[in-house]
């Protein structure tokens, strides 16, 4: 029996799935386009660009394309704001057939005019979509003309859906952010740090910002969660970039390093261990003894606060098995560590867009026999969750009902999360959430019905 037949999957997919073995070192095939005809859980270039830029609270996000691209991404994740609410609206050119035939530039110009007339914006992001990429509207020219006419920033985001995958969209968003940063040519003064790649889901950014403020680190700019355009424009003056969501922001951090000489460090505030390590790393890099001491103080205080509660949940969670299917490899790694600290064994780990080195790390962190997979489809998720006896799946919106149908508990660690899962308090929230789903009485009813237990 061939290996792929054993796994019950497509020949084309066999190199994207592996059973962890400490003896046989084999790299996972990743960073590829999805196989045509597969039920991929992945999205497109536009989607990647939109999720990264959308949390900029006071920007006008204008989607140049047919209505769908705008409507599916309207307020699509719970990025919280302490300022403007502009980003929670959906602006679109709603291209119709005649625009496809005669070109959509006129309509786009009109749409920008109408935004300016009604709202007096400072920054408009204009996204191209699949069809715009094909009919050849000159987005850059239209945006440039509008900038000159109104003396505001109108920044094109080149994101035709077919021109790559979600990571390509992250890159397009990063370019748009750089474009925005270049608005001001003020003399650079090094101060504070930038937080990159926290989208303030359920207010997570505020927790992180709170820690930094407490130890005496000034936050210069954060993007894109709870950010304003003005704040992003002053990002070049920071002395350090810390990168939370590595998948979406590493490339931008590298470019900022090159262009503005700002070094960056990847951090993770998912789980206690990573939170502590990250705080220490940031303090070390800034090099001020006072901050280093404050960090130790904060760690001590916060750990004391959550210790008892975490222990309470650990006792209720120990012994369960978990499956992980998330967007990026960096998050998967943090989750593995967090599960381990709660006594939960990760038996399946997959990501939509993980990188080679991340998969190598995942192999190191997980047990023999753990299934590791890239760009998985529901059939594969089902198969391996069942085979490995997972009690809970951590994933995104499309995985939730699948898990439930299998009688498996679920935790949304993606756009749909409702409680902050960052830092010390986030670790408790995570454990609480796992407890609320794993130990729900509903599974007993299901087990009874399907004749199990």
């Amino acid at each position: 029996m061939s290996r792929s037949a054993e796994l019950g999957t497509l020949e084309e997919r066999k190199d994207s799935i592996l059973r962890n073995s400490k003896q046989e070192k084999k790299d996972l095939k990743c960073d590829q386009n999805s196989v045509a005809g597969a039920v991929s859980q992945r999205a497109c270039v536009y989607s990647g660009a939109r999720v990264v830029l959308n949390p900029i609270t006071d920007a006008y996000h204008l989607v140049h394309g047919p209505i769908g691209c705008a409507s599916y991404t309207w307020d699509l994740r719970g990025s919280l704001t302490s300022g403007a609410e502009v980003f929670r609206n959906s602006f679109s050119t709603d291209l119709r057939e005649k625009d496809i035939v005669f070109g959509g530039e006129k309509k786009l110009t009109a749409a920008i005019d109408e935004i300016v007339e009604a709202y007096d914006p400072k920054v408009v992001f204009v996204y191209s979509t699949c069809v715009v990429g094909v009919i050849g509207d000159d987005l850059a020219a239209v945006c440039k003309a509008a900038e000159q006419k109104y003396n505001i920033r109108v920044i094109p985001v080149q994101a035709p859906g077919f021109a790559g995958n979600k990571s390509t969209g992250y890159k397009a968003a990063g370019n748009a952010i750089l474009e925005l940063m270049d608005t001001n040519v003020t003399p650079l003064k090094k101060k504070g740090i930038n937080i990159l790649g926290d989208y303030n889901l359920a207010g997570e950014l505020w927790i992180l910002q709170g820690y930094l403020n407490r130890v005496g680190i000034e936050v210069n700019a954060k993007f894109t969660g709870d950010s304003s355009c003005e704040e992003i424009m002053r990002a070049p003056q920071a002395e350090l970039n810390i990168v939370q969501c590595a998948g979406s922001m590493t490339l931008l951090a590298k470019k900022m390093e090159k262009r503005y000489g700002i070094p960056f460090v990847k951090i993770s505030f998912v789980g206690i261990d990573d939170t502590i390590a990250s705080l220490r790393k940031i303090a070390q890099l800034l090099g001020e003894q006072k901050i280093i001491d404050n960090v130790e103080e904060l760690i001590k205080e916060e750990q004391a606060k959550v210790k008892e509660e975490l222990e309470f949940y650990r006792q209720r969670l120990e012994g369960y098995s978990a499956a992980i299917y998330v967007g990026g490899g960096f998050k998967a790694i943090s989750l593995i560590k967090q599960f381990n600290s709660l006594g939960i064994n990760p038996v399946m780990v997959g990501t939509q867009n993980g990188k080679k080195e991340e998969y190598a790390r995942i192999r190191d962190l997980t047990d023999e026999g753990t299934i590791i997979l890239d760009d998985a489809n529901p059939t594969e998720l089902e198969k391996f969750m069942k085979e490995r006896g997972a009690d809970i799946l951590v994933g995104g919106v499309k995985e939730r009902p699948l898990a439930y149908k299998l009688g498996v508990a679920f935790c949304d660690h993606n756009h749909g999360r409702k409680h902050p899962l960052t830092g010390f308090v986030g670790a408790v929230n995570f454990a609480k959430e796992l407890d609320s789903t794993l130990n729900s009485p509903v599974w007993k009813i299901i087990a009874k019905e399907s004749g199990g237990e």
């Binding site: 386009n33 005809g37 489809n377 919106v397 149908k405």
Partner: protein, 454 residues
């Protein structure tokens, strides 16, 4: 901070906060109503992912579909090889009985002819492939539903020379599976054999068994769709979503079409049942008479809660038209009626209802968007909003109660299991609407004005 300017300006290029989405998701929903069918999206993978996400959020059930995963190459050289690879992989990996392919703006714009691509494919024994052209820049998701229904009939239905199968075809429109179940229940109570097509009940409201079924039990079978050409008549519920399929069947197999409103409220339900009576000669059973009597009794008991209350209704055309008729019958005054789906018929149908009821000064708009609706409300408020989850922004800002109805509902659950159609559905709507109005009255009452009995 309110973003909505009170001053209304003409817009020619900009849509803000839409009341529609694109064709392919409607086609996907219709395709899910075929038994053991895998919808396939011929375009970029993002489209498919978004549609599945949106449907999953509304129904809270797994929604599975495949995609041709267009890349740069496909968008230059055409999607034929992507489609061929897709089909090969689909049969091997997912083994559905039927694949229903919808196009997207991308594959349409580059000129892919899916029909001829399928014709030159070798299908495995016993498998069926249908396809609908659903460019996102035409119509809306309702158009996409309509096109897929038309496609399944055009490509599958057949008339055998033998006599009629005595069945009635029922095209339910873009409604929840709970509604489809109710329409079927009523027809069964009448003792009339029927085929509902498409039928998403048992697919996106499938029961928990502890086992994941990629193809749940529900859905219209291929045999039934083929046999729909032998039926006595077709009842299309909702002209926007359903009439194209009914007319197609008339053209192809000479099955008589009857286009009715979505049966929301007493009048539209009466019309549906009377149409069944006219076609079949069956009598209305006491069970239905009793339900109707109960509904009218409820309407009598509660009429004073509704009288003169103003309401804004938005959503998809067929259900919004029917809902307008229903709220008018409750004594409420619709003030704003909006859909994003284009089509002249919308205004004609709504205007006819309003004229019939003698209601004047109503703003009816299609295609309209929620920015404009919000502006209208800012200028002259209403007592209630009826619409999908996107209405919550306006409801919150203007402090107006919202009764959730239509598609999508992303922030409440259970609605897709229960009907809003039929007499039972009308009772449920009354419970929701009066509940919302009376909760608001209680909330706003001063302590001395709070009443126990209402």
């Amino acid at each position: 901070m309110s973003l909505t300017p009170k001053k209304i300006t003409e817009r020619s290029g900009l849509v803000v906060n839409p009341v529609k989405t694109c064709q392919p998701i409607g086609a996907m929903y219709a395709a899910l109503g075929i038994n053991k069918c895998l919808p396939h999206s011929h375009g970029s993978q993002g489209c498919c992912s978004f549609h599945r996400m949106h449907l999953t959020r509304h129904f809270r059930d797994p929604v599975v579909a495949t995609t041709s995963s267009f890349t740069e190459g496909a968008s230059v050289f055409g999607g034929r090889s992507n489609l061929n690879t897709s089909m090969k992989n689909i049969w091997k990996l997912y083994n559905p009985d039927v694949v229903a392919i919808n196009t997207t703006c991308l594959s349409e714009t580059i000129g892919d002819d899916v029909g001829s691509m399928i014709a030159s494919m070798d299908l495995p024994e016993g498998k069926t492939v249908i396809h609908a052209s659903t460019p996102s820049y035409v119509g809306s998701h309702i158009t996409g539903y309509s096109n897929m229904v038309q496609a399944m009939i055009k490509q599958l239905a057949q008339k055998d020379e033998e006599a009629s199968n005595e069945k009635i075809n029922l095209i339910p429109g873009f409604v929840d599976p709970g509604d489809m179940r109710e329409i079927k229940r009523i027809t069964k109570l009448m003792g009339i054999p029927f085929t509902m097509l498409p039928d998403t009940s048992g697919v996106v409201d499938s029961p928990m068994t502890g086992k994941y079924e990629m193809y749940p039990k529900g859905g219209t079978t291929i045999e039934e769709i083929k046999d729909s050409g032998n039926s006595k008549a077709t009842i299309a519920l909702g002209s926007f979503a359903s009439e194209a399929g009914a007319f197609e069947l008339e053209r192809k197999c000479d099955v008589k079409p009857y286009v009715l409103k979505t049966p929301i409220g007493v009048k539209a339900t009466d019309e549906f049942i009377m149409q069944l009576v006219k076609i079949t000669g069956q009598e209305v059973p006491y069970a239905l008479e009793e339900e109707r009597g109960q509904l009218v009794d409820i309407m009598t008991d509660t009429h004073f809660h509704f009288h003169g209350k103003t309401v804004a209704i938005f959503g998809d055309p067929d259900v919004v038209i029917a809902m307008t008729e229903f709220v008018v019958s409750l004594g409420m005054t619709p003030k704003y009626v909006v859909t994003g789906t284009p089509g002249k018929e919308f205004k004609q149908q709504v205007d006819a209802i309003l004229e019939d009821a003698g209601v004047e000064g109503v703003k009816v708009k299609n295609p309209g968007d929620l920015l404009e609706l919000h502006q209208w409300i800012k200028n002259e408020s209403v007592d209630l909003i009826i619409g999908n989850s996107y209405g919550k922004y306006i409801a919150k800002e203007e402090d107006i109660p919202l009764v959730r109805f239509g598609f999508p509902i992303l922030d409440r659950s259970v609605q897709s299991y229960l009907p809003i159609v039929g007499y039972k559905g009308a009772m449920r709507l009354i419970e929701k609407i009066s509940g919302a109005l009376l909760d608001r009255a209680d909330r706003d009452a001063t302590e001395e004005d709070l009443e126990l009995v209402m």
